[in-house]
Amino acid sequence: MEKKKLTKYIVSMILAIIAIVIANIVLDNYKVRILNLCFIYIILGLSLNLIYGFTGLFSLGHAGFMAIGAYTVAILTMSQETKQMTYYMKPMVPFLESLNTPFLVAVIAGGLMAALFGFLIGAPVLKLTDDYLAIATLGFSEIIRIIIINMQSITNGALGLKGIPQKTNGTIMKFLNDNFDIGIKPSINLLWAGVASVVTIAFIYLLINSSYGKAFKAIREDEIAARSMGINLFKHKVLSFTIGSFFAGIGGGLLAVSLGTIDPTLFKFSLTWNIILIVVLGGMGNIKGTIVSACLVTIAMEALRFLDEPLKLGFMVTEAMPGLRMVVFSIILMAAVIFKRDDGSLKSALEKVRGRYAKN
């Protein structure tokens, strides 16, 4: 890559981080929370896009890898006292109860754990054929949930984990806050999620434009040709799948911190579905599209929350219909698929819609 281009990217990364710091100061708590979720979904969307959009492997196990990341981070960051209070049905394994690591270490460990599982699931399936990857990963993510429910002394079972510590002001932020009257919020989750998502975007971008990333795309385009050009399909598929799982674990870990509370029902298939929606909407193998659609989906999810509650339609009030939100979402997904062109980006879908009503 040219030096100039590289400088441009580094500068835009720094600007993005400054923008996030400012956002954390000026936005209210509700907006900060949504922005935080946007960043997390960007990470998750990109990680699935690497696996599915760039390498052509259809995986349905994202929620499972997120669960592994989330539980790892929760267990590593919760204090011993919190754990003692939380695990009241069945005490936690003593070794894990006293185990405590810094936040950054915990998040990376969450990613690595997810990557390890990704490797263990992916390798046997991808060695033979990836036709069964979707089924294997779907099964895996359900099994993980069941294991989490049953391993009470490690995961606290169906009760879930509460009191996952929020990331609060670091030394620098404290200094700023004490010396300048700018009212920085105590929580800096947003900064961590923002930095993680900027780093993920950069990593995926650099990966995809490297020789390895091109090999991934070659596999997606035509396995037989890729193999005949000397590309080891198994090795590259496992690499892509493991890296994707790593970032899914990171995203899951950040989600746990942002929510503060996790339990096994959070990691049901509908979570995977949301991420598939982001990838399809953003365009297979389209980084910018994924970023935009991750934000759109996250914001729409919040905006459409009213659909699950009783609706006031003029005179009458409908009964609450939990799940209506998902129905609307699925309709959006189908519309996206119908309007999808070869490059499949949201932009082209919008152009297509506009094209019907506008002449040019």
Binding site: L206, A218, I231
Partner: protein, 256 residues
């Protein structure tokens, strides 16, 4: 360089190739001809490891002291030891650029690991530059450089065929297998293609094994020719001998 010993390929009840034996020597251009369905592509698929022969073996010796039995190797390993191919129905990476198609052909020689590639460490950037330079050189040689940023599927047919050859050359093969490279071309284009094949053979120090089902096409370019019919070897020899061989004439009668 390539020794095919008595290979047979059965698909269920169908015997696609029956006890076929052939040899390709260094620096030769050898043709493999026969009517449609004769089993030619199946022979290539066995040489490149796509299928394992039901019987028989194939030995590839890129140099005198170096010899590989191909039946134990996978297609990507076979590409790494120096055999690369094109496909009868073009198989480009359709939605990728012309440049990327050729660049990917270099990937098998990449020594840098994934992380040094992502973080653009010096060992990778040096290799990447060489890969780009080589791809550029190949595209220029094959008169495709102007189209380097276009998507592969948008190229006209003849250029797609040439791009497939460029991509194969990027893997640095010693033996190049071409499966009906002239398919879909008019006689004029076919003639140019044969000139071109001779040219790249000299330029890149290649040995070439080439499938064609129109007999006339290969007469001018091949040193020797093998003829397959219904999976069985029916003749081999110089183009002249083949043209006058009654068995070959019979096999082709009524087919074309």
């Amino acid at each position: 360089m390539l020794k095919i010993n008595n290979i047979t390929m059965r698909f269920g009840g169908v015997v696609a190739v029956n006890a076929f034996t052939a040899e390709v020597k260094k620096d030769e251009i050898v043709g493999l001809i026969g009517p449609n369905g004769a089993g030619k592509t199946t022979v290539f698929n066995m040489v490149t490891g796509v299928y394992k022969p039901t019987e028989g073996n194939i030995v590839f010796s890129p140099s005198e002291e170096n010899s590989h039995s191909l039946s134990t190797l996978s297609p990507d390993e076979i590409a790494k030891i120096g055999i690369c191919r094109t496909f009868q129905n073009i198989r480009l990476f359709k939605h990728l650029s012309v440049m990327d198609n050729v660049f990917i052909g270099n990937h098998l020689r990449l020594k840098s690991g994934l992380l040094s590639s992502v973080f653009r460490l010096p060992n990778y950037t040096k290799e990447e530059k060489e890969m780009y330079d080589k791809s550029k050189y190949l595209l220029e040689k094959l008169d495709l450089y102007e189209e380097k940023d276009e998507k592969a599927f948008s190229l006209p047919y003849g250029k797609q065929r040439r791009l497939e050859i460029a991509r194969a050359l990027a893997t640095e093969p010693k033996l190049l297998l071409l499966d009906e490279p002239a398919a879909g071309m008019n006689p004029q284009e076919t003639q140019e293609l044969m000139e071109f094949i001779r040219k790249i053979k000299e330029e890149f120090n290649l040995t070439i094994f080439l499938i064609e089902h129109h007999m006339e096409v290969v007469m001018g370019v091949c040193d020797r020719i093998y003829v397959l019919d219904h999976g069985a070897h029916i003749a081999d020899g110089s183009p002249n001998e083949i043209q006058n061989n009654p068995k070959v004439i019979e096999a082709y009668l009524g087919v074309d």
